[in-house]
Symmetry: C2
Subunit: 200 residues, 2 copies
């Protein structure tokens, strides 16, 4: 994704185009022919390299997951932060995140597995940082979902703040805002307990 398109093999160009189009338009919304055109090859070559649309999606799943873990490893190596990693907020990971979200919504097991690993990581992180919610697992799951929310609603969020969050500036801005959500307590413990009781 970061290299120039001409230097890549046709197979890599197809895979990158698939990740982009699947992410932007959904799995069903992007056709083999669309992907082939975006990669500058014939639709037959897509089939030649990947066999079927489902196999192509599986290949995209594996690649996107590996790349995400790789990027995450590099980030935590470069500057170890709080654990609430900006992994999800890295420009290089943007198309990958977009794709993985779509793949999840389409029922992908690989993408869902990545989500579950993310929940595990958040759960471990809460332990090591002494955060002790009443429902640790549910808490971790909610946080994992939250980390992905800005990707799903990128168009709506961009429109709301009047700034494209796919650009570096907008990206940082919404990232900061997201951090503030985790910094400023919105409810007191008493309010949370009150609402718990109200819902019988």
């Amino acid at each position: 994704m970061e290299r120039s398109a001409e230097d890549l093999t046709a197979r890599a160009r197809i895979r990158d185009a698939a990740i982009r189009l699947f992410g932007e338009q959904g799995i069903e919304g992007a056709s083999i022919r669309d992907i082939a055109a975006a990669a500058g090859v014939s639709s037959g070559l897509v089939r030649h390299h990947f066999g079927s649309k489902e196999s192509l999606r599986a290949a995209c799943d594996r690649y996107a997951k590996d790349r995400m873990l790789q990027i995450g490893a590099e980030l935590t190596r470069d500057h170890d932060l709080t654990g609430l990693d900006p992994l999800a907020l890295h420009p290089l990971a943007f198309p990958l995140q977009l794709y993985l979200v779509r793949s999840m919504m389409d029922g992908s097991e690989t993408a869902t597995a990545l989500f579950l690993e993310g929940v595990d990581a958040v759960e471990d992180w809460t332990k090591s940082f002494g955060i002790d919610p009443k429902d640790r697992r549910g808490y971790a799951a909610a946080l994992a979902a939250i980390k992905l929310s800005v990707f799903v609603f990128r168009d709506q969020v961009s429109k709301a703040i009047g700034e494209d969050i796919t650009t570096l500036e907008g990206y940082n801005r919404i990232g900061q805002a997201l951090m503030e959500v985790f910094t400023i307590p919105l409810l007191t413990q008493e309010q949370t307990d009150t609402m718990r009781n109200q819902e019988k």
Copy 2:
């Protein structure tokens, strides 16, 4: 959605089926024939009542939006809470939320408008409750996106906590967890500032 299917007019049954199938399978993923079959009518009748798939979607947009605002009004009347309303977490609103999220991702202006109204509401709420983030608009947009995130990843979240969040119990559980996210500060103000500087 809450009345029994037999009592509804065919037009209402089609609309309800469309909202459900669009929400579950996406706009492109649900065909006119699927919707007609789910409503127990012929595909021609869908066209007769709504003209085209796009018009059907627009009708669903309007209905879902109106119902959501209506439900929200009833909730705030019954028991006025903190303003971080459990509107988004009401079982009755579940299929509507699911649909609206899909419609948003499909580029619906009506659904996007509802999102923007939600951001406005959150923004007003932060003011009246004395919450003063550095970027109020971005903060409100992030919160609005967060409120919808559990709907998008309902399957993944359900799998993560080992409990179906479409049931009332699972629903309340993830709702509680979400509330705790807003109750327990994860980061200190210094940490947030540190991360801001790191991203140059």
